[in-house]
């Protein structure tokens, strides 16, 4: 079989969009009410609905996931200059939010299977200056929440999770946003569930609600009371409208991705040199990404495969290459000098995310599989 260049460019994702007429009805509401932002009716409704969908007791919406994570760390009151142990195998926002909070990211290696922070390597990195652990449920794979919780309790550390990839994920039936002190979800256009841009924080501790409200809204409690030093992290009504409509269809999107995953899995599971990481059986899949590992015994390298796809008009992504500790701004941190990141340094050269969205033509999916199976440049 000849591998063909497909006519239409295929990207790693495509934003989930509801029926435009349903969205326009919200726009009409907004024109009618003249309420465009500032905790409007749609914002509040989305906050309520997300509580059920995410199986959490508290949700605070934000204009994007990064501002949410920035605020989450601020709400934890971490000492100036303290160290936060995190993974370098994540999007840039994760360590950047640590630095904007005047803390130092300390990069910990990852587990080879889930690619999340390796809980067994965390304790070696703890110093008297450590204040928190920031785990990332990368590709929706859950961190080892139980072990991290135990370490945090033992050393009196805060635990923050970046669940940007783990919308609706459950661990043993429990919402992933209920672990740790606070969890951030992203609703960016590239995410399974989007509110154009957007995000939220979830947390069990009811008393955090007021703190987070303040940090998100200038510390303003009422017309004459400003009680905290907050910024503007508000989600507007158009974002909330998109969220409300996408909440109705994201399960259907997950079902479509489930079918796509079956095509990929059945084609790729037997290809020598290709590994397809699978969710542990106690965890549901968010269906956010479809990462594969191109091992050394595959005929060509990850970069060569990526290039080959480019020539086919198929744009896979090397998430996460470079890893965060490779960035100019982080390559001189303590944890990097020790070169203690062998698993990340290996996997960042091998992982490739394939196109993964409900409306991807199964013929294109099959073309992708054939290209991988051929093993040629």
């Amino acid at each position: 079989m000849t591998i063909k260049c497909i006519n239409k460019k295929t990207y790693v994702t495509q934003p989930l969009l509801p029926d435009i007429n349903n969205f326009v009805r919200h726009v009409e509401d907004i024109w009618e009410s003249k309420w465009l932002t500032n905790m409007g009716a749609k914002h509040n409704e989305l906050e309520n609905q997300l509580q059920d969908v995410l199986k959490v007791s508290n949700v605070s919406l934000f204009n994007n996931g990064t501002i949410a994570l920035l605020t989450a760390l601020k709400a934890m009151n971490l000492p100036y200059g303290s160290e936060i142990i995190t993974t370098p195998f994540t999007f840039a926002a994760t360590p950047h939010c640590i630095v904007w909070n005047n803390c130092k990211p300390v990069f910990c290696d990852i587990e080879p299977n889930t690619m999340t922070i390796d809980a067994d390597k965390i304790e070696d990195l703890i110093t008297p200056n450590t204040s928190a652990i920031l785990g990332v449920h990368v590709y929706g794979f859950p961190c080892n929440v139980e072990k991290i919780d135990k370490i945090a309790q033992k050393h009196n550390l805060k635990v923050i999770y970046d669940a940007a990839h783990a919308f609706s994920t459950e661990i043993n039936g429990r919402g992933i946003g209920t672990f740790g002190d606070i969890t951030m979800f992203s609703f960016h256009a590239t995410k399974l569930f989007n509110s154009i841009e957007g995000g939220c924080l979830t947390y069990n501790d009811e008393t955090l609600k007021r703190k987070i409200y303040n940090l998100r809204n200038f510390g303003i409690q009422s017309e004459e009371i400003v009680e905290d030093v907050g910024i503007n992290g508000k989600m507007n009504e158009f974002q909330a409208a998109m969220g409300l409509e996408n909440l109705k269809i994201f399960r259907e999107e997950q079902n479509k991705r489930y079918i796509l995953k079956s095509i990929y899995d059945s084609n790729l599971s037997m290809v020598k040199g290709i590994r397809v990481p699978q969710m542990p059986d106690y965890t549901t899949n968010s269906y956010q990404y479809y990462p594969i590992i191109i091992d050394d015994d595959y005929p060509i390298s990850r970069d060569e495969l990526h290039e080959k796809f480019n020539t086919m008009n198929i744009f896979t992504r090397k998430y996460f290459y470079p890893a965060c500790h490779d960035y100019e701004c982080y390559k001189n941190t303590l944890s990097v000098k020790l070169s203690n990141l062998p698993v990340v340094d290996d996997l960042k050269q091998k992982v490739l995310c394939l196109p993964y969205y409900g409306s991807l033509d199964s013929a294109v999916a099959n073309t992708i599989c054939e290209a991988i199976k051929s093993g040629k440049q």
Copy 2:
């Protein structure tokens, strides 16, 4: 004449909204292109158009004005713990952005006429730790940009302006966003020109463009290059669509507010105890707010007048009461201990912003004027 309670609640402002069909056409484009955010076509078009409208050479859009100001200060590389001289007669976001940048707000008194930072009082507050001056063009009244510029040059300070209220304002024909090192505009729903939420930075120094781009977009320059520690300050395509449509109609809105101002001015200019601050003749009016000063020789206090309006279903605003140095978080700053803010402490008790938007019924405007003229509780 009896002062009546009007049936419909009247607020100090109402968001400017274009014809809904024009907005929906943009929504259709977005559905077609599937490009929801990340420096899309509408975003780039709005950046271009604003360059002309604001008469500036560089514009960088943001998801809101606060994140823009936060980023502006970050882009100035101000030393940790350094002091920024600013006005306490502003919205909470101004000093909060200073604190989130690890600097200290030092509050300077204001001029009695323009209510902007009193340039004659700035030098007394300069210490070896001073790094910048943050002026606010409050209600669209311009700061004394010439004097501030001279002081900054003499003492080697950065100058940042908060022009949240001064959209399209010109000083002697020059865009107000061309003064100082960097200027922030807000496009919040309550502003004359809105993009739902939104804002921008303007600056003369072309080399700032890349720095600001990075700070707004995770420091990401390309798929494999992350060159700075940035956050997410991106304006999405729905916001940009609202901006593009409102750009077409904001001059018409200003004309309507000009007429409303004439009604207010002609009725209130002769009322004993009421002062109506006027723009200096070298400056255009943004028509953002209509503040009046209720002086001691007016029969009732500002708070009593505000209360009276409340009972009439008319919701005026005591902008800016409390002033920032009254907030719990700022009342112990050095500049406040010296009790050197007599003009602010006077005016914050006297200023009242009246309802001010193009579609305000002139009958309601006249009712408001009659209520003020009556001088009774």
